[in-house]
């Protein structure tokens, strides 16, 4: 009980920090913390394997990727906020919207109590043992038998992702001029890389 509330508070705080951090690097750090807390929560929900995966894959591998990208991007001058904010004042409405949705969810969930009917046959082994619900072996058996097809699909998705990334990354030549920056709306500033066209001789400014 206490554990849950501690975890909950930690999760909410780290989440908030993640989306509000000024610099992306801080965000990553908060996100790592968030994911670790989440992994603990998973374990409290009898999902050992996923808890482990959460730490290994998410907290380390994926977020490392973020850090790498950040490192790559930071080589040049501040690339993240070059133009004006085209949705100024979104924060208030966004928070309000989110709050409304949350209110609606809470209202809906409390209005109609969740109807949960646990699986009819009891779990074969006692909690904590190797074959208990959510244990790695239980999960693995489910993954390899009942849910084999989704598992295979997972592999396929990953492969497609790999191919996609390779394709994208092989788009080697930086063709700055091909980019169409936004075509409508007031343009207050030229894109950084685009040089100002030299003034025609004798042209009146």
């Amino acid at each position: 009980m206490t554990l849950f509330w501690l975890l909950a508070v930690g999760l909410v705080i780290t989440s908030l920090l993640t989306v509000t951090a000024r610099r992306p690097v801080y965000s990553v750090v908060y996100l790592i913390a968030n994911f670790v807390l989440l992994a603990i929560t998973y374990v409290t929900l009898s999902a050992e394997f996923l808890g482990v995966i959460q730490v290994i894959v998410y907290a380390s591998a994926i977020l490392m990727l973020f850090l790498f990208v950040m490192a790559l991007l930071s080589t040049s001058t501040a690339p993240f906020s070059v133009g004006p904010d085209r949705l100024p004042g979104i924060v208030g409405p966004a928070v309000a919207l989110v709050a409304v949705i949350f209110g609606l969810l809470v209202y809906g969930v409390t209005r109609t109590p969740l109807l949960i009917v646990p699986r009819a046959q009891p779990v074969s082994a006692a909690p904590g043992t190797a074959n208990a619900f959510g244990s790695t072996s239980d999960f693995g058996a489910a993954l390899m038998t009942t849910h084999l097809l989704p598992f295979e699909v997972t592999a396929f998705v990953l492969m497609v992702a790999v191919i996609g990334v390779v394709m994208l990354a092989s788009d080697a030549a930086p063709q700055a001029t091909r980019h169409h920056a936004r075509r409508r709306g007031p343009r207050t500033r030229e894109p950084i890389t685009r040089e100002r066209p030299a003034l025609e001789k004798g042209s009146v400014r």
Partner: protein
């Protein structure tokens, strides 16, 4: 590990919703694509949390399998999204989502 039987399912769902909505708010308010992506990761994980909670309540590990699937897809998504961010940066030297408006109809 004993299940936290004393914690009602509703609490997990509420927590999940809260995290998800924080992620939503992040996507809506931030203009740094990396932070937006991280907010999206938050949303993925919030969903996972809900699924694991339900799986525990139903004692059905289909929810866990699906969470696994989500992690995979999230990984793939992150990889591709980051690649796109890089490409965009390489082409335009900036990754401001307000500037990159070529989706405009």
């Amino acid at each position: 590990m004993t299940p936290v039987a004393s914690v009602a399912l509703v609490n997990y769902i509420g927590l999940s919703a809260l995290i998800f909505l924080i992620g939503v708010a992040g996507v809506l308010t931030r203009r740094n694509p990396l932070i937006m992506l991280m907010a999206i990761e938050l949303m993925w994980n919030a969903a996972n949390l809900a699924m694991l909670a339900f799986a525990r309540a139903w004692l059905n590990n289909a929810g866990q399998v699906f969470a696994f699937l989500v992690i995979t897809v999230a990984a793939a998504e992150a990889a591709i999204a980051l690649a796109i961010v890089l490409i965009t940066f390489r082409r335009t030297k900036n990754v401001d989502v307000d500037e990159i408006a070529s989706l405009s109809g």
